[in-house]
């Protein structure tokens, strides 16, 4: 994801702003990291350049 996505995304649960923590960057693109809700503190992972903003109870991390 590009950093300017931060301007428009929000927590899927309470719609508050998110904080960004970058683990890996490549050429302006954020490849991995974490998003944290400034209100409810829920965290959302960024993996392979794609933020996962599913509500946590919908995450099905077991491979299909």
């Amino acid at each position: 994801m590009k950093e300017d996505l931060m301007e428009i995304i929000c927590c899927p649960l309470d719609k508050h702003d998110l904080d960004l923590e970058v683990t890996e960057r490549d050429d302006g693109e954020i490849l991995s990291g974490q998003l944290t809700c400034t209100e409810c503190s829920e965290t959302f992972p960024i993996e392979d350049g794609i933020p996962n903003l599913l509500p946590p109870d919908m995450r099905d991390e077991a491979p299909a």
Binding site: M1, K2, D4, L5, I8, I9, C10, C11, P12, L13, K15, G28, D48, G49, I50, P51, N52, L53, L54, P55, M58, D60, A64
Partner: protein
């Protein structure tokens, strides 16, 4: 089966590109109607291969375009199909849109809306993220009047919502979207074999196939957020 399991499998089998090819016949007409101005922000719900966003960037000089999908495999592919910095993908669910209120100029969705687990709530979410005056173009091939689509539910484990045209209009209004227009867009491109090729797996008669594609086609409902 979850959205992830179902659609990850589709993406892995290349069905994302297959859908792009088939849906393009009518989706391009939907895209052509959207009043997307240069710089406008567009959200594609259930983006699949991401073709709609690629098209709007190329033809309308759209601003930031976001594709949301529940399937990581779909998103991985979609991301691979473009190197346009103006297009971003994210994983999320139709019922909990991770976008700020009033942040989007236009929402597009093709053959995806009816997978929402709570479609009236998805429409409320669309109304929320649209700025006042922003538009929603929701297109589906699976709808009540299209009797040929009814059996699709048998092939998929996710529960699908089968509304009629009037039900779509009613639900839009309930959610705070003014209905600007609604019609069905025929698919004039799919090849229809000569009469003696019928019955096929899908159609008893040539007339049935003609009705399905040339007459019924894709149901498009256009809404505008009024406040």
């Amino acid at each position: 089966m979850s959205v992830r399991e179902e659609f990850d499998a589709w993406a892995a089998e290349g069905k994302d590109r297959g859908m792009e090819d088939r849906h393009w016949h009518t989706a391009k007409h939907v895209l052509a109607r959207m009043p997307v101005e240069p710089g406008d922000t567009v959200l594609d719900l259930g983006t699949g291969s991401g073709y709609a966003l690629r098209a709007l960037r190329d033809t309308n000089d759209a601003g930031p375009c976001y594709g949301l999908d529940g399937s990581p495999e779909m998103l991985r592919n979609a991301r691979d199909y473009t190197d346009d910095d103006g297009i971003g993908f994210l994983r999320g669910d139709f019922d909990a849109l991770p976008f700020a209120t009033d942040s989007i100029d236009h929402v597009f969705s093709m053959e995806a809306f009816y997978y929402a687990s709570d479609p009236p709530h998805t429409l409320e979410e669309i109304t929320r993220v649209l700025r006042p005056g922003g538009t929603a173009h929701i297109a589906v091939n699976y709808y009540e009047e299209n009797v040929h689509s009814h059996e699709w539910q048998d092939f998929i484990d996710i529960e699908m919502t089968r509304w009629s045209g009037p039900e779509y209009r009613e639900a839009f209004r309930e959610a705070g979207l003014a209905v600007a227009a609604q019609d069905t867009i025929p698919d004039r491109e799919v090849e229809i074999p000569p009469a003696d090729a019928f019955p096929t797996d899908e159609f008893e008669t040539r007339e049935a196939m003609v009705k399905r594609y040339r007459e019924l086609g894709t149901l498009l409902t256009v809404g505008v957020a009024t406040e």
